[in-house]
């Protein structure tokens, strides 16, 4: 091969079937202690409700389970292996002390209904994290309950709705820029708002004239991501807020890109009324292959009466407790108090950084994105030349001439030892390559990335088929998604 990846080398990979294919009767990975109470007659206790058969549940030994999952794990790419430049996903390092402290006994095993008297430790964590996030966002109050970003959006819009209702002027629609994440319109629909699309201008920012024309007293809020999904800071953000506020609307900020702002700028200072954070992006809690997330919602004072229940309060005797009696609350959005384990990790991350570390983190994240932009400018088309914050969006315009699209380049990147960037998003850039390095990448790793991307661009010129057929190094090649969707096989079944 002409272009030899420097970062990665092929090595032997273990095969492994489905766990059901290893199962046979009599194998076991469990042992219960002897029963210290009298045995019971299950048939007598349960009658017709007794279950007799557990179907095709596996029977395997402990070593087989260890090998099974260890082998499967080696088929995954991960941050721990290298750069994961997924734009808008903020794939940063997941510190291990976070995992250690989340497993300390009283924290891992606390029951959500244990008396408040013996829950002061957990309540203190909720309170301290809340205070940190309130100062980081420049807002006045927060709820930690939402289980993920999209859940936070829903909670935020429910508060928006309750606010307008209390003002005696329920509104009908939400404005959403065309560059927004799909969760924004999906959430607006869930809380029964109509969605109205808002155009971006030639610099990739909100078109102020269009906003002025579309804003009226039917608009409940504008949902804005800032920096937006092009990695561009909305320079007229205060103007945007003013236009909304003048007609009684609210400014909702999707905090997905907060990693560009922490310690440098606070949304509360530039006119945001309500926003959600993604602890699994900005605050280093692990993505874990797709979750759990955590999506706290920070708000300005005027929305405080509508916070979901319960809310942590300091009681007269100085101890902490939960307050449930909040007549204007939007209600409960989740059982118990949210993804507490993620709060522990996020707080540990904030403690490990401190104010100076958080600021340096943001600076490095922005520096890294600009370094990559500089490295790839000219090789890949940059549709918007507006200054870049934490992520940069190229397009496949130059490579498309050879019939190679963003997804093909992404797949070829795998052979070079990198995870692909985000493809085909934001929708306003046809054939987008959306790259977010985060602060966690060293200069060396980014130099390898730039080298790989340039090498792929050269391959597109010389030998496009290699790129079109990529990846070549993975244990499976491109999978037939059409067949998977036409005749879905969603579970294993024993051979007849």
């Amino acid at each position: 091969m002409k272009h030899e990846p420097r970062k990665a080398t092929l090595h032997v990979n273990q095969n492994e079937g489905l766990i059901f294919e290893k199962s046979s009767a009599g194998k076991a990975a469990w042992k219960l202690p002897p029963l210290d109470v009298p045995e019971v007659d299950t048939a007598r206790l349960l009658g017709a409700s007794e279950r007799k058969d557990l179907g095709n549940m596996p029977e395997v030994s402990e070593i087989e389970i260890i090998r099974h999952f260890t082998r499967l794990s080696t088929w995954n790419y991960a941050i721990d292996l290298g750069m994961y430049p997924l734009g808008s996903c903020t794939m940063k390092y997941n510190p291990r002390v976070n995992e250690a402290v989340a497993r300390v006994e009283g924290i891992a095993n606390g029951h959500p209904y244990q008396p408040e008297r013996i829950s002061q430790g957990a309540l203190q964590i909720l309170k301290t994290l809340s205070e940190c996030l309130i100062d980081i966002t420049g807002m006045d109050a927060i709820t930690l309950q939402p289980a993920a970003g999209a859940h936070g959006e829903m909670t935020g819009l429910l508060m928006v709705r309750a606010y307008h209702h209390a003002q005696g002027r329920p509104r009908k629609k939400i404005l959403i820029p065309d560059s927004a994440h799909g969760t924004n319109p999906a959430t607006a629909a869930m809380v029964d708002y109509a969605v109205e699309n808002l155009k971006s201008d030639s610099r990739g920012m909100v078109d102020i004239a269009a906003l002025e024309a579309q804003m009226n007293e039917d608009v409940a809020a504008l949902m804005l991501t800032n920096p937006n999904t092009l990695g561009v800071f909305e320079q007229q953000i205060h103007k945007i807020a003013d236009i909304l506020h003048a007609k009684g609307g609210l400014l909702y900020m999707d905090g997905a890109n907060m990693n560009a702002l922490v310690g440098k700028v606070r949304p509360g200072d530039f006119g945001v009324d309500v926003m959600h954070l993604n602890l699994h992006k900005t605050f280093s809690t692990p993505h874990g292959g797709g979750g759990p997330g955590s999506g706290p919602v920070a708000i300005k004072k005027k929305l405080e009466p509508f916070l979901p229940t319960p809310v942590v309060v300091t009681k007269a005797d100085g101890t902490l407790g939960f307050e449930y009696n909040r007549p204007q609350s939007v209600g409960r959005v989740r059982a118990f108090y949210g993804n507490f384990g993620m709060f522990v990790r996020a707080l540990a991350y904030i403690q490990a950084n401190g104010p100076d570390g958080l600021r340096q983190t943001t600076e490095d994240a922005v520096l890294n994105a600009n370094y990559i932009r500089k490295g790839l400018e000219g090789t890949y088309d940059l549709p918007y030349s507006t200054p870049t914050m934490h992520e940069v969006v190229f397009s496949d315009r130059l490579q498309a001439k050879k019939g190679v699209r963003t997804m093909d380049i992404a797949k070829r990147l795998i052979d070079y030892g990198f995870h692909p960037y985000t493809t085909a998003f934001p929708l306003i850039v046809p054939g987008a390559l959306m790259i977010e390095p985060t602060e966690s990448e060293s200069k060396e790793e980014m130099d390898l990335f730039v080298e790989a991307m340039k090498s792929i661009a050269a391959e597109v010129d010389e030998d496009p088929q290699t790129v079109l057929d990529a990846p070549h190094s993975t244990r499976v090649s491109r999978l037939d998604e059409t067949a998977a969707a036409r005749k879905p096989v969603l579970r294993w079944k024993p051979a007849l």
């Binding site: 998604e481 059409t482 969707a485 036409r486």
Partner: protein
């Protein structure tokens, strides 16, 4: 691409073939081509009342969903059940893979639709920008 001349076309890329008061509806070859591999077709229930220009179902590829718009108003009398198990037939021959039959409420509505030649011209122009 050849568009059969025995039917009318919409700018949303559906075709309708009238036979007395019955209209047979499908999507055009151009539509199936731009959608790519079709994996699912969602059709209305028999008996549903449709208004011209309003969505009557969806067609899905792996990563996209498109609404289907009724070329004319009417009542659904039959849907092509075979598309549930073999959506690929739309890719194979979109002009043969009909989706539903309706009783036309007002057959005159078809007069406003495009002829095969006009549709072909429309597609060529649309693709130009």
């Amino acid at each position: 691409m050849a568009y059969p001349t025995d039917r009318k076309y919409t700018k949303q890329h559906e075709w309708i073939q009238a036979n007395g008061s019955t209209g047979t509806v499908g999507i055009t070859g151009h539509a199936q081509e731009s959608l790519g591999d079709i994996v699912f077709v969602e059709l209305p229930k028999v008996g549903a009342e449709l208004a011209a220009g309003k969505s009557f179902g969806t067609v899905e590829s792996v990563k996209a969903v498109s609404d289907l718009y009724a070329p004319a108003s009417g009542t659904v009398t039959e849907v092509n059940e075979s598309l549930a198990t073999s959506p690929e037939s739309v890719n194979k021959d979109a002009h043969a893979a009909w989706m539903m039959k309706i009783t036309l409420k007002n057959p005159k509505e078809l007069d406003a639709l495009l002829s095969a030649a006009d549709y072909e011209k429309y597609v060529a122009e649309e693709g130009g920008h």
